[in-house]
């Protein structure tokens, strides 16, 4: 039972401070160089995918607070992404003629999404598991349907056409939509967005880690483990659950705002149930409750469909001499297959927390 469960790699890092620093520096260099490597070798479409991977990491980390830590199954999470995205779209586009600065909109998006998180959370406090999933699913759909229909009698969301011409993100008077000259290096737009997204993703990782190892984080997990016992320990489960909904939602709101600025276009289509399911898959497949696992899940599930999309054609060409199956159709098939295989062989996720790994091992033993 007391077998070493932490990978040796991390033990080495923990014991040796200079190794840890070296590893951090190496990781930093890789992350900094990544867009240039990908941009020059794979092209801009992969850079866009990389940027999206970072947005999905933020979403997955947000959902992880609700599902992974507090154990509240949420199938409508993408609604908070939508709230953040539409807030940005409404406050910085020709639609209303407003062009507020990004440093105002992104925090406002986080706050508004947090409020929506509480609004969703409040009626579901007594629900758990399947019932909670159904109510949250309904909430996600309601938000999408509202976005679809709030174009009459007053045109707020512009309905299914969505809002276009959204301002690109500007930081300190510099727009990220055009290449930036930085100390003699030309940083293309997609690279600049990458660095901004990376910075915010790292901030969210930092906040999540701090929360996980805090009084609040322990209370979340306690509720997941046994709500009645948590109450008996003096945890105000109502407030702590609402806090989980609000925190998770606010991360989604940040990601949504960035998404709107990055795409310059939002429409209700981007916030379908499928997206909620996708983010949930990232959390579960990566390793529920474990931050590195959730990040891995976010990266993999963003990349895999694209790899299948780009790879399925050439591979068929090489094997059969022609493209037999439409790569677009094939990619979701392969993707589904990959999910099933992972869940069969790694039921706790690809990179489970040490606790969960112990849990599964303990049950097997």
């Amino acid at each position: 039972m007391n077998a070493p469960t932490r990978p040796i790699f991390f033990d080495a890092l923990r014991r040796n401070k200079s190794t840890a620093i070296a590893a951090t520096v190496a990781l930093g260099i890789v992350l900094a160089a990544l867009p240039f490597l990908i941009g020059s070798h794979l092209g801009n479409s992969w850079l866009r995918i990389l940027d999206f991977a970072l947005l999905y990491i933020m979403l997955a980390l947000g959902l992880n607070i609700v599902v992974g830590f507090a154990g509240l199954l949420d199938l409508g999470y993408i609604a908070f992404y939508a709230v953040g995205a539409y807030l940005y779209a409404l406050l910085a586009s020709p639609h209303f003629g407003l062009h507020l600065p990004v440093w105002l909109i992104i925090p406002a998006g986080a706050a508004l999404s947090g409020i929506f998180g509480v609004l969703l959370g409040a009626p579901t406090l007594r629900l758990r598991g399947d019932y909670l999933a159904i109510v949250t699913l309904g909430f996600g759909e309601i938000v999408r349907i509202f976005l679809n229909n709030l174009n009459a009698p007053i045109n707020i969301t512009n309905g299914p056409q969505g809002i276009s011409g959204i301002d690109p993100i500007r930081l300190g008077g510099v727009t990220l939509a055009k290449p930036i000259d930085f100390l003699g290096i030309t940083v293309p737009s997609l690279h600049a967005y990458y660095y901004l997204f990376l910075a915010l993703a790292l901030l969210i990782v930092f906040i999540t880690i701090r929360l996980e190892n805090s009084r609040i984080g322990r209370a979340w997990v306690a509720i997941r483990e046994d709500e009645i016992a948590a109450k008996a320990c003096g945890i105000d489960t109502r407030n702590i659950k609402l806090l989980a909904f609000a925190m998770g939602a606010s991360f989604g709101g940040v990601a949504g705002g960035l998404f709107a600025g990055f795409q310059a276009f939002v429409s209700p289509e981007s916030f379908s149930l499928m997206e909620s399911v996708m983010v949930l898959c990232m959390v579960v497949l990566g390793g529920m409750g474990n931050i590195p696992g959730v990040i891995l899940g976010g990266v993999l599930l963003t990349l895999l469909p694209e790899i299948f999309r780009h790879g399925a054609g050439p591979v068929q060409q090489a094997i059969f001499g022609k493209v037999l199956l439409d790569p677009e159709a094939l990619r979701m098939l392969l993707f589904g297959l990959a999910l099933i295989v992972v869940m069969l062989y790694r039921p706790a996720g690809l990179w489970p927390s040490t606790t969960r790994r112990r849990e599964f091992r303990g049950d097997a033993a």
């Binding site: 039972m1 007391n2 930092f206 906040i207 701090r210 929360l211 190892n213 805090s214 009084r215 609040i216 984080g217 322990r218 209370a219 997990v221 306690a222 483990e225 046994d226 009645i228 016992a229 948590a230 109450k231 008996a232 320990c233 003096g234 945890i235 105000d236 489960t237 806090l243 925190m247 606790t355 969960r356 112990r358 849990e359 303990g362």
Partner: protein
């Protein structure tokens, strides 16, 4: 008696449909004593616990705790007032370590919020260190310090019972309510439990004990109340309770007669 009452239950009633789970139950627990609550299965002992700790709202009567009315509407408020409990079927946070379980118990006596957690300001860091220190102390106190890093669900049955007590003590209770702590324990384990409960009382915590082990209750408690079909049929010192014909009839049967 000059001893102050810590808990006064006045005519507590709790009905489930037509079932009178508790009916007109009044009892007084003095500060610093070990108070036993016994009765046959289904007599309403655990229901009383649930009313006391705020899990159930009583249908009648009131609870006076430490001089003030106990607004038994929410369990976390009861915990804040100083009532801690364990559960008949152990309810630990299975996938948290023993240490973390006890640390959760400190929740109600600590304050750090999201901002403190994220910023790690000096106050939060100090508080977190204090939580850890207290949790370590309590694990030592119940004698399972060597299992601190094990998942709660992987502890032995007896250790899980001890861990539950440590977690309850972490809330700094005035009244510790133990729901059948000796259930499923062998003689040696029960003996150790008895020492533990006596130690807890010596440290100034009043103990309310539901227990089936008659020998343990009679040997340990200062006062005993007997419930039968939701009503209190007797309340006195163990020696008197043991001889009460109503008790013998309802609960002890021929065992001690």
């Amino acid at each position: 008696m000059s001893i102050r009452p810590l808990l006064e239950a006045r005519a507590i009633a709790k009905y489930f449909g037509g079932v009178k789970a508790l009916h007109d139950v009044s009892l007084t627990i003095a500060e610093g004593e070990i108070y036993g609550l016994i009765g046959p299965n289904g007599a309403g002992k655990t229901t009383f616990f649930n009313v006391l700790t705020g899990l159930y709202r009583p249908d009648g009567g009131e609870l006076i705790f430490a001089g003030d009315k106990l607004q038994a509407s929410a369990p976390h408020k009861a915990a804040r007032r100083g009532i801690a409990r364990t559960f008949q079927n152990i309810r630990l946070f299975g996938n948290m370590s023993a240490m973390e379980n006890v640390m959760v118990g400190r929740h109600v006596r600590t304050r750090a919020g999201v901002l403190g957690a994220v910023l790690h300001n000096r106050k939060t860091v100090a508080e977190e260190a204090a939580i850890r220190r207290r949790a370590e102390e309590l694990l030592h106190y119940v004698d399972i310090a060597d299992r601190a890093d094990d998942l709660a669900k992987h502890l032995s049955y007896g250790d899980q019972r001890r861990l539950e007590i440590a977690r309850a003590l972490a809330t700094d209770p005035k009244l510790l309510a133990l729901d059948e702590p000796a259930a499923g324990m062998n003689g040696a384990e029960t003996g150790e439990l008895r020492l533990l409960i006596e130690g807890i009382r010596k440290d100034g915590v009043t103990v309310l004990l539901i227990e089936h082990d008659v020998k343990l209750v009679m040997g340990l408690c200062d006062h005993v109340a007997v419930l039968d079909y939701g009503q209190k049929i007797c309340e006195d010192v163990p020696a008197v309770v043991q001889k009460d014909p109503r008790v013998i009839e309802a609960y002890l049967g021929g065992e001690l007669a």
